[in-house]
Amino acid sequence: MREQVIEVRDLRRTFVKRKGWLRSGESVEAVRGISFSVPRGTVFGMLGPNGAGKTTTIKMLSTMLLPTSGTATVAGFDVARDELAVRRRLGVLFGGDKGLYNQLSGRENLRYFGRLYGMADAAIRERSARLLDLVHLTDRAEERVESYSRGMKQRLHIAKTLLHDPAVVILDEPTIGLDPASAIDVRRLIADLVPTHTVLLTTHDMHEADVLCDDIAIVDQGQIVASGHPADLKHSAEVDRQVAITLASQSPADRTKLVAHAEQLPGVTRVHYESGTDDLLTLRCADTAATLDRSLALLREIEVSVRSVEIREPSLEDAFLAATGREFEESDDTTPEQS
């Protein structure tokens, strides 16, 4: 059995919103009994909309916040009782633009954070050079961070997070606000962290979670509503798979004939036809590969020209919908404003 590097059991966190000097506050349960574990050398994703409780969980794991109840250990150390031991083994990247000294150069930032982690001079020099190279900032290392783009800052954040070679890396929304090219760069860096590191990643980007994570917990309103391997989660969504074929425009008679033939194809549960400049034939089915083969054979046989083909598999968004009963974007923000 693989060693569990992060173990979380029934973690809860309640905030009290202050309403003024005399008025008592209202309690908000931001995290409501979350449990999960992360095996060594894997990427575990917490996926959920804003206010789901992801960042609150991250803050508890990174010792910034004490749990109201429940337990959590990182590399075997309790986050509430052994915070120093946890901090030494942890690299944390907080979301957003903060966390760097803008008036210092990239290299000076790493030098100072190396000291904060108790690193020796030689180690700081060696690791800084290596990580600046890794994040493609060697050429800009002597420039002040205030002159960096958002993507460059985020890459420097990653270098800072890895500087002391932590066993566990926590990344809170690492690609938020980045342009697509920078986001791809950062995702590549994250993918390269395993298996030498164990990574806990929070994101509300479905694609990011899908491509990076070995396991995912879908978090909503302070609870894990579904968890598992991304493929299993998508499979569990029980959403029909679809083969969508764009065709040259057909006459009404040909269209009727085509739909009748398509309905006879084995495994096809539903046929939808849309007319337009190009026509769109959508086939719902359980096995997209077999349906694609059969439908293309049919179209060749009746001499209908195909413009393009798209296969639509269930997504993590479908998994979220299946687990929560509502769309991803509809979730309310429950983040407390004040404690």
Partner: protein
């Protein structure tokens, strides 16, 4: 593009051999970072030597207008110059050390500093020392102006004067540490630092002798470590006093500074726990 071959639970690059040495290096690195960050600001560079000179000249004009030529048996300019030195040390302590964590909040680095294993006390002391070093050009310019303005310097025992100066800096660092946690817990560092400024000038005898304070205010003045350090510094630099003549105020400085340090360490521990319990670290 692999980072490296293996990760040894975060221990590979950590220097565990001498924790005290490691903390001292953090203090030195923080002081250096403080200086680099301050040096990046052109206004701060211009302000550093000008501010103490302007204050010294202003106070000199005020005393001239009052017709007073001596303060507690010492010449006015000399007395004020030493007070100015204390002002620079106080500025370093409160705005460098006491407000160090607030400054991290403004920079957006507070969370990153807190989740690092380095001690918060080292960060505060390092910022305080950085502030003291930053004040040195101002101090030199101030003294260079004070002598032509008529300051009568009489240092018979340089070692005693240096001890008094070090005591002054130590006392200000202790106060900075003492205020560090309080400032963060209150989440109003700037307001509190401003609030304490004028009373400290008066109570510790920066520009006005403590002898003129009403008796009941002495009770407060006597627990401020800088009060004693300033007495010792003035005696050794303006009246040629020996170490034996100032050992009592120096001892009192150490005693009261120790109280502030203990309060600082206690409040910082409380701060860490309180903020983690409240969940307000990220709200700062």
């Amino acid at each position: 593009m692999s980072t490296h071959t293996e990760s040894l639970a975060g221990k590979r690059y950590l220097d565990d051999h001498n924790p005290l040495w490691s903390e001292w290096r953090l203090i030195a690195a923080t002081a250096r970072t403080h200086l680099l960050r301050t040096f990046a600001n052109p206004i701060m560079i211009m302000r550093a030597p000008l501010m103490p000179v302007l204050m010294l000249v202003t106070m000199r004009v005020v005393y001239s207008a009052s017709g007073q030529r001596q303060i507690d048996g010492q010449d006015v300019v000399g007395y004020l110059a030493v007070g100015m030195l204390a002002t620079l040390a106080w500025t370093a302590a409160v705005w460098g050390g006491g407000s160090a964590l607030q400054s991290e909040i403004y920079a957006g680095t507070f969370g990153a500093v807190i989740v690092a294993p380095g001690r918060t006390t080292s960060v505060i002391v390092g910022n305080g020392i950085g502030g003291i070093i930053w004040g040195i050009p101002g101090l030199v310019v101030c003294l260079a102006i004070a002598v032509p303005l008529g300051a009568h310097v009489d240092i018979q025992h340089p070692v005693a004067a240096i001890c008094a100066l070090l005591a002054l800096y130590m006392s200000t660092l202790a106060i900075g540490l003492g205020f560090g946690g309080l400032f963060i817990l209150s989440r109003q560092a700037n307001a509190m630092a401003n609030f304490f400024q004028a009373p400290i000038y008066l109570l510790a005898g920066f520009y006005v002798p403590r002898s003129v304070l009403p008796g009941w205010l002495h009770a407060i003045s006597d627990v401020i470590p800088m009060s004693y350090a300033l007495d010792a510094l003035r005696d050794t630099t303006l009246s040629g006093a020996s170490f034996m003549a100032v050992w009592r105020p120096l001892l009192a400085t150490i005693g009261t500074a120790a109280l502030f340090m203990a309060a600082g360490v206690w409040s910082l521990r409380r701060m860490d726990n309180a903020l983690r319990r409240r969940g307000s670290l990220d709200l700062l």
